[in-house]
């Protein structure tokens, strides 16, 4: 649960760290003999999906496989985009991710601050209750959650994706841990000057918490963007589907058209990959700090 206490942000990976010298007696480090094939194996699935996405249908359906297409079929991407409402998929995923990031930042901050700094009636009981939900996997509660969301009339809507995920217990724990590590003197001084609790949270605590807020935002965004099971349960209309479910629908409709399927797959991964490449350091530090994947 509290991975953050084990792996501190200040100790997260420095990409330029230099812990060892190269041995002198080899012209190159023998580690390359391990890392080159490993990197090739890790990149091969992605490279091959890009290659296939640029082939003609005839080239993709040939054995031995065509490793270098004769001409690049960028039209596959246009065809994939038009075959299913990919525009809707992207928009829905963006709404789902943005709304759950915003909701978690706001509601988790408020609750975490109360748990970290305010002594209020029933706080211990409430905190233990939250602890319990953290230990229960989502699959265990998926059937009643489905029934509750149906009661609320949110089945087959983006709202039904968003509402149950507006505030995660994980975020409350993460932020509470961080708030408790902040020096309390600043807040006390502001309190003497007559600042309200809300004012202290927004003007003093949150500005000091930018790294952990960014971490929560990145983790939540990645989680919502790649979420599949919950959309699969509640969404039936392609126009209301987020990206991963849409991709799965696309797969069902084009089972053997591998060039189109790969174009859709590559297309669906580009935004997340681009964000990752731009903000690699932040991504990696967030994962190392929280120990959370999806």
């Amino acid at each position: 649960m509290e991975a953050g206490s084990m792996l501190r942000l200040d100790r997260a990976i420095d990409l330029d760290a230099v812990p060892e010298k190269r041995p002198r007696h080899w012209p190159f480090s023998p580690w390359h003999l391990f890392l080159i094939p490993l990197s090739a194996a890790m990149l091969l699935p992605l490279v091959w999906s890009v290659v296939t996405s640029l082939e003609t249908a005839a080239e993709a359906q040939r054995f031995p496989p065509v490793l270098v297409p004769k001409s690049l079929q960028f039209g596959n991407y246009v065809n994939a985009w038009q075959a299913l409402p990919f525009g809707h998929f992207f928009l829905n995923s963006f709404l789902y991710s943005a709304a759950t990031v915003a909701g978690n930042l706001l509601f988790c901050s408020l609750a975490a601050y109360a748990f970290a700094r305010l002594k209020f009636f029933g706080s211990n009981v409430l905190f233990v209750l939250l602890l319990v939900t953290l230990m229960v996997p989502f699959q265990v509660v998926i059937i009643p959650t489905f029934l509750i969301v149906r009661h609320l009339g949110l089945i087959d809507s983006v709202g039904g994706l968003i509402v149950p995920n507006l505030c995660g217990v994980f975020g409350i724990f993460l932020l509470r841990q961080f708030f408790m590590s902040l020096p309390v003197q600043l807040e006390e001084a502001a309190r003497i000057d007559g600042a309200s609790r809300l004012g202290i949270l927004f003007k003093i605590v949150l500005p000091l918490s930018a790294p952990v807020l960014a971490t929560l935002a990145i983790i939540q965004f990645m989680w919502s963007w790649n979420d599949f099971l919950w959309p699969l349960i509640i969404i039936t209309t392609p126009e209301h589907s987020p990206l991963q479910l849409g991709l799965s629908m696309f797969q069902g409709a084009h089972v053997t058209q591998w060039n189109l399927l790969m174009a859709g797959t590559v297309m669906s991964q580009i935004p997340m990959l681009a964000v990752f490449l731009i903000a690699q350091r932040w991504f990696i530090q967030s994962i190392a700090y929280t120990g959370i994947k999806q």
């Binding site: 100790r11 390359h32 990197s39 091969l44 993709a60 265990v140 009643p144 149950p164 505030c167 599949f228």
Partner: protein, 301 residues
């Protein structure tokens, strides 16, 4: 409304009690509605016949008894355990090796790291579709490589004897980078004095690794073992995308069976019973792992 200073109402309004509850209220409403109520409801449902549409009826322990005699459920438990027993040790040990290799100054180490990290942001659905294509028995790239090496072509995900192992390999591709990130962070916390002291003492490379570095990494290892086990027991996305539990049910894992029962056959009560068995199993396994793991940590420090 004005309040007398020092009055009861004034004290209450200015106190932490009110502020605390106002602050936690939105979170509490959301988490009670979508976290705590479903946990209790799931337990109640597991004692009901519930088709998710008509009013449920009480059936006592019938769902749990039926589970014991359901060969499909027993098979799904077996597949889940085989998957977990293979996935967890191989991926954690493999990640340690890769992190050890990447934690040094090498030409191109940033590229190597990128190659290992990129699958972490690839979605499970995309991973499934891409591996379905790579492992296609007729046109797949992997069979092409096998034929080049003079080896027989394989059925992979379409062969009931191989499909589960293909799922292990596929999910390891997706998870390796995550484990490596955790190990790299932990490795960079190993004090250099420790490493140097070990080599001055004349310890060989392997024994200094085993006796100095490995104990230091134990918290990270424990975390990864617990976390990967929990995730492995909940495997679903990749199965849904690639095999839908087939061929011949050979990759039907517990959560996939739960999904089928609840949302395809509308046996909500039965699905809830499966969910609770899964929950208790995860809880028990996690507690054992934490107990054993933390005892080892203390005895080594």
């Amino acid at each position: 409304m004005s309040l007398r200073p020092g009055s009861r109402a004034q004290r209450l309004l200015g106190s932490d009690h009110l502020a605390g509850w106002v602050f936690v209220l939105p979170a509490a409403v959301l988490i009670v509605t979508f976290g705590i109520v479903p946990i209790a409801w799931s337990a109640i449902m597991s004692f009901q016949a519930n088709d998710l549409v008509s009013p449920p009826s009480w059936v006592g322990l019938a769902n749990y008894k039926a589970l014991l005699h359901d060969p499909a459920f027993t098979a799904s438990v077996r597949h889940t355990l085989v998957y977990t027993v293979l996935f967890v040790p191989i991926s954690v040990a493999g990640a340690l090796l890769v992190a050890w290799a990447l934690n040094r100054k090498l030409r191109g180490v940033r590229f190597y790291r990128l190659a290992v990290f990129v699958p972490v942001v690839t979605s499970t659905v995309a991973t499934g579709i891409i591996f379905l294509w790579l492992l296609d028995p007729v046109f797949g790239l992997v069979n092409y490589f096998l034929s080049k090496l003079g080896l027989p072509e394989q059925g992979f995900l379409q062969d009931p004897n191989q499909a589960l192992y293909c799922i292990v390999a596929m999910t390891m591709w997706g998870w390796l980078g995550f484990d490596v990130i955790i190990y790299l962070a932990a490795l960079q916390g190993v004090p250099e004095e420790l490493m140097e002291a070990a080599s001055i003492d004349g310890a060989g490379k392997w024994s200094s690794f085993r006796n100095v570095v490995l104990p230091f990494l134990r918290p990270a290892t424990l975390f990864l073992v617990v976390w990967s086990t929990i995730s492995a027991l909940q495997l679903f996305d990749e199965i849904y995308v690639t095999t839908r539990g087939g061929p011949l049910g050979s990759t039907t894992v517990v959560v996939f069976y739960l999904y089928q029962q609840a949302f395809q056959f509308f046996n909500g009560g039965y699905g809830a019973a499966i969910a609770y068995v899964l929950f208790l199993a995860i809880l028990a396994i996690t507690i054992v792992q934490l107990k054993v793991g933390s005892r080892r940590i203390y005895s080594n420090s």
